[in-house]
């Protein structure tokens, strides 16, 4: 047993003077002052897959914005070269109307990203408001609001979209409306679940005892604390929207010629799969990369926000 009674006899007597407590040492806070979001960013930045996803997205966004500006051709211009394979002049080759595929892919990027973001933003506004009001008020209001949401999702999604697109003219705006018509329900359900769990937490009760009204609670407590779930849902809604848009365009319900959505390009490319495989390959590649990247970022965000993994 190493509990020996050894000690040094030769210690100077002054060292045994009573000096007392040092309160400042005793009550200090952690020197590092990190806010919640800084912690989240730290954890996110250590997730390799999420960073790769972010880089891919950054690349696609930048190219989507700038590549068409600096290109020698517009997306509908006839370059005179029909169905050529990728070459020094045309990095992604040309299609059967002699259009440069490189510039078309990046136009496609603009369209896909725009549609994805627009759908997500509408989701956000309607879904968050719907879910938080429903969750907070509870009772009959909650019941009615959620049953409306249930009815909307009970109808087959594709059917709704197709009917809407047939009724309205095909195009970009109608596409966005069709995608968000029932898309917000997912966000509403998730926000409602978060609100239900947050509203019984003691800090919300404390706010109520201070006299807070419904709007104050939603603004100050419910939404900020649900923000994590909201962000993750948004980030994962975007690839779903992009995929659906690509699919709809592929079956002919999407944006129309000469606008180039990746989906329409894939559809055209499919016809020439034997003779000009690059016409399908490039749009398909970018659809996959974009969806993968958004999913990686969304998953990374979710992991970074998970309170159980904190410290």
């Amino acid at each position: 047993m190493t509990l020996e009674n050894k000690y040094n006899d030769q210690i100077a007597p002054e060292r045994f003077e009573i000096v007392g407590a040092r309160p400042s040492d005793a009550d200090s806070l952690n020197k590092k002052q990190i806010s919640f979001w800084q912690e989240v960013m730290y954890r996110f930045s250590h997730n390799k897959l999420a960073i790769i996803g972010l880089i891919i997205l950054a690349f696609i966004t930048i190219m989507g914005i700038f590549a068409p500006m600096f290109s020698s051709w517009t997306y509908e211009e006839n370059t005179g070269l029909y169905n050529t394979a990728p070459s020094a002049a045309h990095w992604f080759g040309t299609d059967d109307l002699a259009r440069d595929l490189f510039v078309r892919v990046w136009i496609g990027a603009r369209i896909s990203l725009f549609i994805g973001l627009a759908a997500a933003v509408i989701d956000l506004i309607i879904g968050v408001l719907w879910g938080s009001i429903s969750g907070l008020l509870g009772g009959r209001v909650d019941n009615i609001m959620m049953r409306i949401a249930d009815v909307l999702t009970a109808i087959p999604y594709l059917l709704v979209v197709i009917i809407l697109l047939v009724v309205m003219e095909k195009g970009l705006i109608p596409m966005i409306i069709a995608l968000s018509f029932t898309g917000w329900v997912n966000m509403a359900r998730i926000v409602r679940a978060e609100v239900l769990s947050i509203k019984s937490r003691e800090f919300v009760l404390a706010s109520r005892t201070l006299g807070a009204g419904t709007w104050h609670l939603i603004k100050r407590h419910l939404i900020p604390n649900a923000m994590g779930a909201i962000l993750v849902t948004m980030t994962l809604t975007i690839p779903a929207a992009i995929f659906t848009e690509s699919f709809l365009s592929y079956i002919g319900l999407g944006v129309q010629q000469p606008l180039a959505s990746w989906g329409t390009m894939a559809s055209e490319g499919n016809k020439a799969i034997q003779s000009a495989p690059w016409r399908l390959m490039f749009p398909a590649l970018f659809i996959s990369l974009t969806i993968f990247a958004f999913n990686a970022v969304g998953d990374g965000l979710r992991d970074a926000l998970d309170p159980k993994l904190r410290k």
Binding site: M1, Y7, R15, G20, A21, D25, K32
Partner: protein, 350 residues
């Protein structure tokens, strides 16, 4: 001569966190003999739970690191053992009871089956039939009424106190020599707590099991412990029999703990003798005595050099410079002295 079951020597346990390396346990020494109960008392951040988890090598590595020291169970150091070797010891020779009975039991498995699992895994019985019989015996031993019926219950069908009894039954199933109880009654009501403590003492008497009891409640310590180790900031600061600690405490932190509790025999309007401040950050542990910044009786040397363990008697040790022969003779703080006087002199209340 009582047999020594457990010997912990100079145990150091660190954790790698993104803020730095946390030295959760900084040189802990203690022993445990057959049939006795050692209470490890401490507050949050003292290292008591890390120590108890370390005894069964339940600290995840990474981020945990067994930086130094030995944990000798029946003479055999556990630290170098592989996970496979530990599997034959855990649940078998050493068993653990945790704080929260809700999460310690598998909610999807009937309680009888959970006990049988242990018996079969460690080959304590010859057949499933024998396992069932023994399980029902154990349920009876821990005081569960109608054990044959309760054998088929799910955890959620039982109350908190009942669940903790089942947890104890599982822990006892393989006849362990050492039982580690990590705050087993903290989440329970005071009357249920009393029943569980009585149960544990009965079991100890009948099976001669050694118990390490981790808690922050000094009342519980006085009830169950033979010997006590008081932990602060990752170290044991005072160590002795239960009488040593309660009637002759020598470390200012122990005085502080005793002074923090209301003295029900001496009703005054005085404020409690609370210890100001909070425990130190163990990422950069202080060089001297860790308790000094909160100690109004701290000596100059307390801020410079860590005190060694001084011996007060055969059984009693304290890690404070106040026990050095050159240190000033400081009497017990009044509130603590008064409490000890009335404790030793008077008898029970109510």
């Amino acid at each position: 001569m009582k047999k020594k079951i457990l010997e912990v020597n100079d145990l150091h346990i660190h954790f790698k966190t993104y803020a730095g390396i946390v030295q959760a346990v900084r040189g802990v020494n203690f022993e445990l003999y057959e049939g006795e109960t050692l209470a490890i008392v401490g507050e949050s951040g003292s290292g008591k739970s890390v120590t108890s988890n370390a005894l069964m090598k339940l600290i995840p590595e990474p981020p945990g690191i067994y930086a130094k020291g030995e944990i000798k169970f029946n003479g055999r150091d556990l630290i170098p053992l592989s996970e496979k070797e530990m599997l034959s010891i855990r649940g078998n020779e050493v068993a653990m009871i945790f704080q929260d009975p809700m999460t310690a039991l598998n909610p999807t498995m009937r309680i009888g089956k959970q006990i049988m699992e242990v018996l079969l895994k460690h080959k304590k019985v010859a057949s499933k039939g024998a396992a069932k019989t023994r399980s029902i015996e154990l349920l009876n031993q821990v005081g569960i009424p109608f054990p044959e019926k309760r054998f088929a219950s799910y955890p959620h069908e039982l109350s908190g106190g009942m669940r903790q009894r089942v947890v104890i039954a599982i822990a006892l199933a393989a006849d362990p020599k050492l039982l580690i109880a990590d705050e087993p009654t903290t989440a329970l009501d005071v009357t249920i707590q009393a029943q569980i403590l009585e149960l544990m003492k009965d079991i100890q008497k009948s099976s001669n099991t050694s118990i390490i009891f981790i808690t922050h409640d000094l009342g519980v310590v006085a009830n169950v412990a033979d010997r006590v180790a008081v932990m602060y900031a990752g170290q044991i600061v005072e160590y002795g029999t239960v009488e040593d600690i309660f009637y002759n405490p020598k470390h200012p932190y122990t005085w502080g703990l005793l002074g923090s509790m209301p003295d029900l025999n001496n009703s005054t309007d005085e404020l409690l003798r609370a210890i100001p401040g909070s425990p130190p950050n163990l990422i950069n542990p202080p060089t001297g005595c860790a308790f000094a910044p909160r100690n109004e009786l701290a000596l100059a040397i307390d801020y410079e050099e860590e005190p060694p363990m001084f011996q007060v008697s055969d059984t009693h040790f304290a890690k404070t410079w106040l026990l050095h022969p050159n240190a000033p003779k400081i009497p017990l703080p009044e509130a603590v002295a008064r409490r000890i006087e009335s404790a030793k002199g008077g008898t029970a209340n109510a």
